[in-house]
């Protein structure tokens, strides 16, 4: 079995739920365009989501067919993406993170400041931030059509998720920017996220993530 990159997306119910879902779906759809295998799904226990409640979503990307496609929780996590920064205080966003993994936070705060809230950061290989609020003007899309595994009527990457996806492509290389450009609605916001991401490499190394920045 080849290496599978497991991604967890932390977001908030209802008001930022679609943004989180867009991140996971954006990753999976772009990865498939890259010729990889990928899954994306909500955390079933976190549904139904409530306004502002912390919720989790998952994506998996692999070079080969994913054997544990129908296994619910990832045992380990390679990348943790935090769609709303205050979550770093409330939740252990590095839970299950493999040594050398990546933390990507949508925030205007500098990396050093965010690190204050992450006492277990020694497990990290890198931390990145992108100010998606500033790039998109804080645009959040609230739409329920894609909940419960439904068909999303609005499309991916209209709001905050576009720059987050761009930033992820830049630092992790897990998906190609070109593929993302075919997936997201707001391509320029995605490009800005790609270009404007802040990154700090940390000492731990990861077997699969090689920083492309």
């Amino acid at each position: 079995m080849g290496s599978i990159t497991e991604i967890i997306v932390w977001t908030r119910g209802v008001v930022m739920d679609k943004e989180g879902r867009d991140v996971m779906n954006g990753i999976a759809q772009a990865a498939i365009l890259d010729g990889k295998f990928a899954d994306a799904f909500d955390d079933y226990e976190d549904l139904p989501d409530r306004v502002l409640v912390p919720v989790r979503k998952y994506a998996r990307v692999s070079d080969e067919e994913i054997e544990h496609k129908y296994i619910y929780y990832p045992e380990v996590v390679d990348i943790s993406i935090v769609v709303e920064p205050a979550l770093v205080k409330g939740m252990n966003v590095l839970k299950g993170l493999r040594e050398g993994g990546l933390l990507l936070v949508n925030t205007k705060y500098p990396i050093e400041y965010i690190m204050k809230f992450i006492p277990n950061a020694d497990v990290l290989g890198g931390i990145a931030t992108v100010d998606a609020e500033a790039i998109t003007g804080g645009k959040r899309v609230v739409d329920f059509s894609g909940t419960e595994g439904g068909v999303d009527a609005v499309g991916i990457g209209v709001g905050l998720s576009a720059p987050i996806l761009g930033a992820l492509a830049r630092v992790s290389g897990i998906v190609k920017k070109e593929s993302l450009a075919r997936v997201v609605q707001n391509v320029s916001a995605m490009e800005r996220g790609y270009n404007e991401v802040n990154f700090q490499k940390l000492n731990k190394t990861h077997h699969a993530l090689s920083w492309s920045i």
């Binding site: 409530r50 306004v51 409640v53």
Partner: protein, 329 residues
């Protein structure tokens, strides 16, 4: 049935927020939405009712979001009921207390038994059990906390969902541009119209907490079944900014889409009637569920509000004949 002197509770009127009991019986630590209208309603009802209370909670948000994973926010006895049978389970609890007190097995005063049912658990799948409770005359307060949808399952239409609402079962589309095409059921009128033992029915709204609490207390002081229909704006389902929950309640009243009244022994008493009503759009514009509506749809909702106002005007002056007459004494 038998002559037995049950010891009932009595309640004082709450005059101000400061005068309301400080104790909370619906405590912090639950998974309801930030800004949840039904949660605010639950808290106010519990506060007004006090510690000698038993809640029956049919399935819905106030079950699933509140009693998540073996921890609950109810500081008084609470039992789950199926979404179908809140009225029946409460009837059983009440019947048990009647016989246990009569047999000397319970020596406290008769507890308040309150069903907290959503709109589905009250007037859709739960209607049969609710109506039977009202008919049989159990000393139970049945509250329909109305957030105008099946919210717990992801906002599906219910019989109280507004005309024109976008729910996940009534999405607006090319053929059906307004989303929901039907106008809602009227829960208090369903109760008033056919249950001779019911002597008190009230509507309330989380925008008016003192009024809500006093109506709860009044309802609980009856020895027969009582019904309250409480508007509980739902930030998730209605798609408004969660800080506007109480505002939505007030706007519903100010636009005439919601009427605050008590019906007591056949007579209506209205409150919070605005001097001048606002157009319904003032209410609709904050809510994403109405974002797709066109002028003609909004006009229909305005006409609906206008008809409600007319009805309230008439009902306030001359009591409207009730089909199931209230027996004297």
């Amino acid at each position: 049935m038998k002559d037995f002197d049950y010891k009932y509770q009595t309640f004082d009127r709450i005059k101000s927020y400061r005068n309301a009991p400080r104790e909370e019986y619906y405590v912090p630590g639950h998974r309801t939405c930030a800004g949840c209208g039904p949660a605010l309603c639950y808290r106010l009802v519990a506060k007004a009712a006090g510690k000698d209370t038993i809640f029956v909670g049919p399935t819905g948000c106030m079950y699933v979001a509140n009693s998540s994973y073996l921890c609950t926010p109810y500081a008084v006895p609470w039992t789950h009921a199926q979404i179908t049978n809140g009225g029946a389970v409460a009837s059983g609890v009440e019947a048990a207390y009647k016989v246990l007190m009569r047999k000397g097995k319970y020596d406290g005063s008769f507890p308040n038994i309150i069903v907290m049912a959503g709109d589905g658990g009250s007037v859709d799948i739960g209607l049969q059990a609710m109506s039977a409770l009202m008919y049989r005359g159990h000393k139970v307060l049945f509250i329909c906390y109305d957030n105008e949808s099946y919210a717990n399952t992801g906002i599906q239409t219910s019989p109280t969902t507004s005309y024109g609402a976008n729910t996940t079962f009534t999405p607006p589309g090319k053929l059906i541009p307004e989303g929901k095409t039907l106008f809602p059921k009227d829960p208090p009128q369903l109760v008033i119209g056919g249950h001779p033992l019911v002597k008190y029915v009230a509507t309330a709204n989380v925008g008016y907490p003192t009024d809500l609490m006093n109506k709860v207390r009044k309802a609980l002081s009856y020895e027969s079944p009582t019904f309250m229909h409480i508007l509980c704006p739902c930030p998730k389902g209605w798609k408004f900014d969660e800080k506007l929950t109480a505002e939505m309640g007030k706007l519903a009243v100010q636009t005439g889409l919601w009427t605050q009244y008590e019906w007591e022994n056949g007579e209506y008493k209205f409150s919070h009637i605005p001097k001048k009503y606002k157009p319904v759009d003032e209410y609709l514009k904050h809510q994403g569920r109405f974002g797709h509506l066109k002028k003609e749809h909004i006009a229909k909702l305005q006409a609906f509000a206008d008809a409600k106002k007319e009805w309230a005007k008439k009902a306030a002056v001359s009591p409207i004949e009730v089909v199931a007459q209230v027996p004297a004494g």
